[in-house]
Symmetry: C2
Subunit: 728 residues, 2 copies
């Protein structure tokens, strides 16, 4: 086989290098900003030290678990094991870079707010862009690098040039990278999510509710832990989430490309996802460059939206030419546009359900008048309701992109392979959705930076004008954080089918090695009308429930500890409330740190073990001795995966949007409705907001990662379900 | 064809008549009891009038909607339409009988408590038994009557004697009965659930929390509505739930029997479920007769448990002989025992998770120390956790009964039909679970009766000794109510597979009518690896979320109205709190009534329309013009059904057990832990209890009915998904 590496493919490393250069330039730009008053610096230092200390310990834990898993993975293939480690390392590295920039830029954003809103916005947003670039570039370069390394150097086949499964076999190994990325991301998201919400809940309940002091008041012993949490949860956590999205979805799409390669003999189907992502990253650079306020009175959200639409339009134009050149079927261009439109639709739906200007949040605010119980009942029912529109949008996108892909099969002269070409349509839609990932991530990281800046301004007693500026940015940051969660959930949902297909393509390869030659179309069945498969589906949904339970409980317990500690400090040293003595911030930081590291392990390990154990049990119960290539085991894992994905998406939407709606119902009341701050309705809304905290910032976002982790595990372990043993 | 009606089949009408006679005797026994003091009578009359007035209006609404649906059903077959109406009518009638007995016996139970605990227990339990008998006997006689009527009189076929599909075609029509029963049950459960919780939440939040008066205090304007609610929600609602369980599961099992009939030519497979249910009812009579206290100090729960185990043991012995005689395969006996064991297992699991003596409830009570938010967070995570053990028990029961049934196929000389015989194994397990239904229902209805009796004793200011007796019974009633919910959910889960199979058997019949001759094994596939089918599965899970949202929201809104009204009365007439003037009970009854009737319609109609619309859309999008017998449409509806069932079961467990745990955490604190009544922990626990109310008494139990309603709708409309049109 002679692979003609098309010139377009060189775009990927070139774009990567450009991305890194721009990231360096932006970092320098941000770091040249001043660090404000000495008071600001003290607070900023405390946040930075807390965040870095936590991250160091978290990465140590992740590293230990990852090395254990990597050693076990050698039983599959040492190259999978290496890919896994690189994936886990790059995932953590991109989180680390994002964090470093974030904890250095929060104080600079605060200081810039003393001069102008625009400068403050630029400082925080460009710092966010560094984080976004780090995530996307590292993910892309990692996939590309390891793919070509395994393709040309560390190849499986002695006679690979004549082997049509060359790509497939290579990607089989590269899948370890996606697994590693998802694995590290789950721990980062869980650990960060538990940390941030334990601190937040503790700080709010004792500080705001019991002691009646404002948010971010320096007298609150948990305030530094809370600000540290914004960084390790929202910033490092979401970064890891989208890192593994990019990695898993690219690799999944490439696997589908390798399936099509068998029919078209054209390697461009394999390279297409990488090229599109690289181009999207470049388009995002243009979008990022255009973000600035036209004048001091412009709404910051407008500037961000402008940048987003510029990114989307450039991406769409580029997609047209790339699709035409690489795939030669207009249908896939439309698929990618569907992906972009879906991300926009989900953003609007999320806004409708979680913004104070619409019915849902107002209903929760109304219900707060009759106390916390009705606030919770209404909020929970709104959360359940918010699943409807996103699911319909996702369903239509899936069906449309599948149908378009099937249509392309005919256009391209492969009418008998319409199934696989159809699946590639859903891959194209997913890739289309990811095209703006860099920009979206920049907006997302902007959130915790401005949140921190607001805290620093508050704690260092700056004049009201400056607080107003950071408050404005902080509220925009809350919106962008909610939107990114919607975006991450939507991409997880759209990618689901692509990753299922990739799993079954791995099954095909494993069966081929056994001499059971079958096509993807013959193998890719998940018949839940068989009792065994139905039971696996049932267990898949159950996993989502127990996972969410563990994640939420972890926050509840840690928050309980935090509340007790803050109460103790207030009681034992009355000087804290009078402002004469300094609270012990470190003990609160310590509680969050220990709780996060301790409680993230079980929910992190559970989704790794369950599909493997289920698959093996099913194999030995039903397939053992039949030489049928683990038909029941494979379908059972498939059903587990698919129904876990369905339940995971729904649960994530419920938790994310329910939490977001509670949060904004509280803010709506704080804006002077229903009696405003200090009213009974406000007290009720604070309870709802607190309940929503672990929903929206711990369990919900972790579920996005969970569903993809399940997919990438299955990808890597497909051979085990087919043969019932580990290759080594 | 010559059907030899075996003598054992005559057991069914005979048992039915015995059941009715015993019900009459028990009613007389209960009604001969005295109605206590004049004060008691006033309160009892108010409850009876309120309940009957509500029920009359609720049944009027259900009647109107049912007639509309029945008219539309004529487009399928007028006999389905008649069967539907009879099912809806019998379902409502059994609810009505239960209610009548309940509202007459509450006051007699209260009065009997003045004499002894034993007499009070007997009065309430025997009244509950009347309700249980009414439900099971009416369901059984209804199915049997309509089945033989359609089999011999109003038959489809002119030449039926030679038609091997005689049973199948008859059951096709009888399925309308199950649909009617589920349809009416959903409204009864929803309406009753909304009514009771709107009143309960309203009464508790203003009365107990704000005004600080005890539960069931006559000064609380919502107290009568609350006591009425116990009857219309717990009593009529759960009765309707188990009525339709018995109907749907019997008919489903008979349909599976008719599929086996094609191979064995033995009609006993069709009659088996009816005979077992009839026998179980008789066994329950023995169990009911044995319930009494050995002495005044015995725990009432012990007496109930004794009766339950006697019922279970007699049933097991009878099952052995019936299975041996009718089916000739010991495996099905084991399947039925698995069903009985599963019901016991679920009862114990439910107790562990919702009783104050174990870890989960205590954890919630602990979390109440740090306020309502941590109480809610912990309770919700416990609710999520409670799904694990029941799901594993259900999964194992399904797999074991399926494997045993497959094994029986070999024993009986039909190794090639192991799939169908395996499915019959799951049917046998379901029937085994239902065998004790009469006794379980008696225990369940006992709950609201004693709850009411306690309210009457409290409101009529009886001495403490008497209150202690009714309190004891009330607390037992709370336990039995929780257990019955677990039982209903378990049977819904176990029945699910049976009902899926029955749906596909209806598809086989519809395909036969088109000339597409296929076996169940060929048709019964639900391949969620096809994007269209996956999307249908996604929508099925979504339906559960939006349904739960509507049910919970209805309570939230109605409770809000109730709170406002009670606050208004307290404010406008201070004499109420001083005990000098009587509150306006009627206005609160009116609020609950109107809210329930108004808000039950949308969540009731939604699950009827969605599968039909989905099936038709799928047919015209993918099957139209192919003459393939609606392959995609049928699989899509199947996937919708199956994944809705999975999501529904999990959500129901979460809501039921979460609510139960919150409730008992509050009671645990009221028993003097964490500061007891009036402490901040207690206030927090009351919030949790209130949030749990609509979870456990409105949305959760309605979900049991929902999943079966989806199945029975699909059964009836199978022909529409196969042909894309209505037969007429």
């Amino acid at each position: 086989m002679n692979v003609d590496i098309d010139t377009l493919v060189y775009l990927v490393p070139i774009a990567g290098i450009i991305g890194l250069i721009v990231a360096g330039v932006l970092t320098k730009w941000v770091m040249r900003k001043d660090t404000g008053t000495p008071e600001m610096k003290v607070i900023g230092d405390a946040i930075r030290e807390g965040a870095m200390a936590y991250l160091a310990r978290q990465y140590k834990t992740i590293a230990i678990i990852s090395v254990i898993v990597a050693v076990l993975l050698v039983a599959l293939d040492w190259r999978i094991s290496i890919a896994f480690l690189i994936g886990a390392f790059f995932s953590s590295l991109s989180g680390y870079i994002g964090m470093r920039v974030s904890v250095s830029s929060n104080i600079r954003t605060a200081s810039a707010a003393r001069r102008s809103l625009n400068e403050s916005l630029l400082t925080s947003f460009r710092a966010g862009a560094v984080s976004g670039l780090a995530v996307v570039v590292l993910s892309l370069l990692g996939v590309t690098g390891i793919f070509f390394l395994y393709l040309f150097v560390l190849n499986n086949d002695t006679d690979f040039e004549s082997n049509s499964l060359w790509f497939s076999n290579t990607l089989n190994l590269v899948a370890g990278y996606a697994f590693g990325a998802s694995f590290a991301a789950l721990f980062a998201q869980l650990g960060g999510g538990i940390y941030t919400k334990a601190a937040d809940v503790g700080a709010d309940l004792v500080g705001k509710v019991e002691a009646g002091i404002p948010e971010d008041d320096p007298r609150n012993p948990a305030v530094i832990a809370d600000l540290v949490g914004d960084n390790v949860g929202d910033c490092a956590g979401r970064g890891a989430d989208l890192f593994e999205s990019t990695a898993a979805e690219n690799i999944g799409a490439m696997i589908m490309g390798s399936a099509i390669y068998l029919y078209t003999n054209d390697p461009l189907w394999v390279f297409f996802p990488l090229v599109v992502c690289a181009f999207g990253m470049l388009a995002s650079l243009v979008g990022i460059a255009t973000v600035k306020l036209r004048n001091e009175n412009e709404e910051p959200m407008k500037a961000l939206n402008r940048g987003y639409f510029i990114t989307a339009i450039i991406s769409a134009v580029g997609l047209y030419f790339i699709t035409d050149y690489m795939l030669g079927a207009w249908q896939y261009f439309v698929c990618a546009i569907i992906g972009i439109l879906l991300s926009i639709a989900i953003v609007y739906i999320t806004q409708y359900y979680t913004a104070g200007s619409y019915r849902p949040v107002r209903e929760i605010a109304d219900a707060s008048e009759t106390g916390p119980a009705t606030n919770i009942i209404t909020g929970f029912s709104i959360g359940l309701e918010t699943t409807v529109l996103p699911i319909i949008a996702i369903a239509l996108s899936l069906l449309a992109s599948y149908a378009l892909g099937q249509d392309a099969a005919t256009l391209l002269g492969h009418p008998d392979q319409s199934f696989i070409f159809g699946l590639y349509g859903t891959a194209a839609a997913t890739i289309g959705m990811l095209v703006t990932a860099t920009f979206v991530l920049a907006m997302d990281t902007f959130g915790p930076i401005t949140d921190n800046a607001g805290g620093i301004v508050e704690m260092s007693n700056q004049p009201e004008e400056i607080r107003n500026r950071t408050d404005k940015l902080d509220s925009v940051g809350n919106t962008t954080k909610a939107l990114t969660k919607g975006y991450a959930m939507g991409s997880a949902a759209l990618a689901a089918f692509l990753l299922f297909s990739a799993f079954f393509e791995q099954v095909v390869i494993a069966r081929n090695d056994m001499g059971l030659n079958t096509s993807l179309e013959e193998v890719f069945h998940v018949d839940i009308a068989q009792p065994q498969i139905f039971v696996a589906a049932l267990l898949g949904a159950m996993l989502v429930f127990i996972f969410a339970s563990l994640a939420i409980r972890a926050v509840g317990k840690a928050a309980g500890g935090m509340i007790t500690e803050v109460r103790r400090q207030f009681k034992e040293d009355p000087g804290i409330m009078e402002g004469t003595s300094k609270p012990d911030y470190a003990s609160c930081v310590d509680i969050s740190t220990k709780a996060a590291l301790k409680t993230m392990v079980l929910p992190g390990i559970l989704p790794v073990l369950t599909p493997i154990i289920l698959g093996l049990l099913m194999f030995y119960a039903y397939d053992y001795g039949t030489d049928n290539g683990g038909v029941i085991a494979v379908q059972a894992v498939g059903a587990f995966l698919m129904v876990a994905t369905i339940a995971g998406i729904l649960m994530a939407i419920l938790l994310n949007n329910g939490g977001g709606a509670w949060d904004n119902a509280k803010k709506f009341i704080e804006d002077g409705h229903h009696g405003g701050k200090g009213s009974p309705a406000h007290a009720a809304a604070v309870v709802g907001d607190t309940v929503g905290d672990p929903f929206k910032d711990t369990a919900g976002p972790s579920l996005h990662v969970l569903v993809k982790l399940l997919s990438t595990i299955s990808l890597v372990f497909a051979v085990v379900f087919v043969t019932g043993t580990f290759p080594l």
